[in-house]
Structure formats: structure tokens, C-alpha cells
């Protein structure tokens, strides 16, 4: 079943790969098709593990993981040619990249209804995974791992539980999450300390945060009922997310300079839902300063 999906030639590829690859679709339910890209290990595909990689969002494509993170080749800045990634994870594993859920990247649903939730995503991914092992039965005995990043912090464990407790014969060994969202409360709470101890907040704001959000040796920056605490946390979050810093990598420049997307705004609203009423009206929410005048 996998033969028609084999990728034999790719535009912009000037090197001969030492692995095989397939790209096609896995069924995740009636009329629901998830795009996958599978590359075999550069070492020993028959013995090396199979690793599923999921990017986050929710709603972002795992092909970003392939083409700019751990895939065997990446795209040059010309958008036309490819170069080999010497640190590709398929040096040691057969890597499966899945665009999930339907509506992401080249995945689709016949009814074009893309409303979904965590449990539905896990269920769809589990079905797609079973579809994968039907398509590639030679890999059913290989050890299997699930890796993910960011909102994959939710995708990965929820899918893992289905794999671990389901009927499908999968040699599941473990899972891993990179910079994952594991707890909204702890993510919010810890960010205040991260920001302060990286020098992003001054002593005045730190004092105001402590005065308004802390009591009897404990602090609540996540869901305090105090309006004055919410205001201070909102200011702190605005410094992190809206002052011009690269929130994904504090010491790197902010690339792209494209405007905020609806998805990004939605993600921010979800992440910091307790502060959404004030997040967009803070003193930091105006137009970004030019690079010349950034303080």
C-alpha cells in the first residue's frame, strides 16, 4: 500500500539521499485525511525505532519540524533549493511527520469542518497511526516513540495514552515533549519568575507584583481574583510578548516582522485567558517601536 506514496525525486534536491521517503495520506476517520511524510533511518531502518513527530499550535504543521528542525533536509533561503541537515533525527530513527488535525497544512476533511478539541485530535491521530502501520506493516515490530513540541505537550501524552491502552499492536516504548505546554497554570506562574530573573522586569514592577499577588509566602500570578494583581501580571506579560522580544528565544532577533496572525492572537488568548480583557489594552500594546529607538 505504500508504493504509490514513495517520493522518488524532489525539486531542489541536488544530493542523493541515503534513505527512502514517502508522502501521502492516512485516514483518520470517514472523509478525514491526514498528510504524512515518512523518512527511513539512515542507519538500519529495519531495526531502528519509528518516531512520530508532532508540532504544536494548536493548528500548526509538523512539516515545520521536518523542514526547519529535525528533518533530513531543510529549505535554503531562496525557497527553491534544499540542503542536508547533518543533525537529522533520521540518523538514528525512522521519522514520521504527521500534519494534524485535519485542516492543518495539506491535511483535510471532505466536509471542511475543522472544529476540533484535544480528545478528537488524539482519537484522529490514533486512527491515523493505525492506518500508518497498515500501510507500512514491516515497521510494526520496531520500537515506537512519540515526540512533540509546544502544544504537543497536550497532543503527545493524550495520544500516548490511547496507544498504550488501545488494541492496536504497536511496540510503544515512550514519549517526549520539547518546550511543551503541560500545565497552563504552571506555565503562567513560572513565566513571571522567568521574566524577573532574566532582567525583563524592573524592581518597581516586581514589587507591585509581589504586593498585589502574594500573600503569606505564596504567590498567585495565574488566576488571582485581585484586579490590581491582574493589572500587574498583564504589564509583565506585555513586556514578554508585546515589547518586541523574540518570545521563542530570548536572545535571538525577532525575524519575519509579519503582523500578528489570528492564530497567534487566539493562542495568546488561550494561554493567558485570565488576562485577556486587559492584555490588548496595556501600555505596551501600541505599535512596535522601530529598532533604532528600542530601549
Amino acid at each position: 500500500q505504500y508504493a504509490p506514496d514513495e517520493v522518488t525525486d524532489l525539486p531542489g534536491m541536488t544530493f542523493k539521499p541515503s534513505y527512502r521517503q514517502w508522502s501521502g495520506y492516512l485516514q483518520a476517520g470517514p472523509g478525514k485525511f491526514l498528510h504524512y511524510w515518512f523518512v527511513t533511518s539512515q542507519r538500519d531502518p529495519t531495526k531502528d525505532p519509528v518516531v512520530l513527530w508532532l508540532n504544536g499550535g494548536p493548528g500548526c504543521s509538523s512539516l515545520d519540524g521536518f523542514l526547519s528542525e529535525n528533518g533530513p533536509f531543510h529549505v535554503n533561503n531562496d525557497g527553491a533549493t534544499l540542503y542536508e541537515n547533518e543533525f537529522s533525527w533520521n540518523k538514528y530513527a525512522n521519522m514520521l511527520y504527521l500534519e494534524s488535525p485535519a485542516g492543518v497544512g495539506y491535511s483535510y476533511s471532505d466536509d471542511q469542518n475543522y472544529e476540533t478539541d484535544d480528545d478528537k485530535v488524539a482519537a484522529d491521530n490514533y486512527q491515523a497511526l493505525q492506518s500508518f502501520f497498515v500501510k507500512f506493516p514491516n515497521f510494526t515490530l520496531n520500537e515506537f516513540f512519540i515526540f512533540g513540541e509546544s502544544y504537543g505537550g497536550i497532543y503527545v501524552p493524550t495520544l500516548s495514552l490511547r496507544v498504550a491502552t488501545g488494541q492496536a499492536k504497536i511496540n510503544f516504548q515512550g514519549f517526549s515533549v520539547g518546550n511543551g505546554l503541560s500545565s497552563f497554570a504552571l506555565n503562567d506562574e513560572s513565566l513571571i519568575y522567568f521574566g524577573y530573573y532574566h532582567g525583563l522586569f524592573g524592581e518597581d514592577l516586581w514589587r507591585d507584583l509581589n504586593d498585589n499577588c502574594c500573600n503569606k509566602g505564596g504567590c498567585n500570578f495565574y488566576n488571582s481574583s485581585s484586579d490590581s494583581c491582574k493589572i500587574q501580571v498583564n504589564i509583565a506579560f506585555s513586556i514578554v510578548y508585546q515589547s518586541g522580544l523574540n518570545e521563542y528565544s530570548l536572545y535571538l532577533d525577532c525575524e519575519g516582522r509579519r503582523g500578528l496572525s489570528k492564530t497567534y492572537e487566539k493562542a495568546m488568548t488561550l494561554l493567558f485567558r485570565n488576562y485577556r480583557k486587559t492584555l490588548h489594552t496595556s501600555k505596551y500594546s501600541g505599535p512596535r517601536l522601530s529598532s533604532v529607538s528600542l530601549n
Partner: protein, 148 residues
């Protein structure tokens, strides 16, 4: 639909080429590729505000887990995930210690039974992109259940 400060122009342009779509067996009827989907993101319903219970079930089955963080990320910062792993209440089985890549300290890690928390020093949200060598070392070590 692009996350802030991430430049995905090159891969977006490449993936949307007609000859690339054909090579990847993408139906011509599908819309253009983008890194994130507004259609999905806008209507997404979050059900899990924490996955603590899910982790506890998985770990009780003897599965191996690794939670790793590039330590300069602020979207999902390392401290929150460290607290998450610590809050699982699993017995500590190693000290918090350094791990080495290419004769340099590449980060820190601590084991709690079959789950490990690990940082990648100087890397941001996308660890394999910004610390590819250490990331590959970490990946291989986890797969073979070796020593970091």
C-alpha cells in the same frame, strides 16, 4: 498564520510550488500550505488545562518519558515544565546535574524514575533548530535509554 518572530517564508514558498506538491502527492484541489491554520486554531477547544493525570497513568505503565526545554524560550519556559515534572510526585533518582555535548555543558537534567527533565542551554522553543547537535545527542540517548 505565522507565529511571531519566526520566518517560514522559504519553506512556505517551496512547499507551495506546483512541482513540489506533485512530488509529495498533494491533490491539486487543496489550498495553499501555511505553517499554521486559522481554520483550526480559531475553533479549537482546549479540554486539558494540565496533563498531570495523563502522565501519571503513562508512567505507571512503565513507559519512558523525557521532558526537555530550550532554556531561553518564553512561550513554554523551562521553569514551568520543571515544576510540572517535580509536581508529578515521582521519587527523585538522580541529582540535578549537567550533561555534556562536544566538551561543553549542554544543559542540565534530573531523573525521576522513568521520566527525565532536561534543559538545553541557550536554545529556544525549537530545540532541534537552534541546538541541533545537542538535540540529536539527547534524542539518541533517550531512544537507547542511555546516559546523557
Amino acid at each position: 498564520a505565522v507565529p511571531p518572530c519566526i520566518n517560514s517564508t522559504a519553506q512556505t514558498n517551496w512547499l507551495n510550488r506546483g512541482d513540489v506538491r506533485k512530488a509529495l502527492h498533494i491533490p491539486a484541489t487543496l489550498p495553499a500550505w501555511d505553517i499554521c491554520s486559522d481554520a483550526v486554531g480559531e475553533k479549537y477547544n482546549i479540554l486539558y488545562w494540565t496533563v498531570k493525570d495523563v502522565y501519571l497513568k503513562l508512567l505507571s505503565m512503565g513507559l519512558r518519558a523525557l521532558v526537555y526545554n530550550g532554556d531561553t524560550d518564553m512561550a513554554c519556559n523551562f521553569l514551568g515544565d520543571q515544576w510540572f515534572v517535580e509536581d508529578l510526585g515521582i521519587k527523585v533518582t538522580s541529582k540535578y546535574k549537567t550533561w555534556i555535548y562536544d566538551d561543553q555543558v549542554a544543559g542540565f537534567y534530573q531523573r525521576f524514575g522513568n521520566i527525565t527533565f532536561l534543559t538545553v542551554k541557550g536554545a529556544g522553543h525549537m530545540v532541534p533548530q537552534w541546538a541541533p547537535g545537542p538535540a540529536l545527542h539527547m534524542f539518541q540517548t533517550f531512544l537507547i535509554n542511555g546516559s546523557y
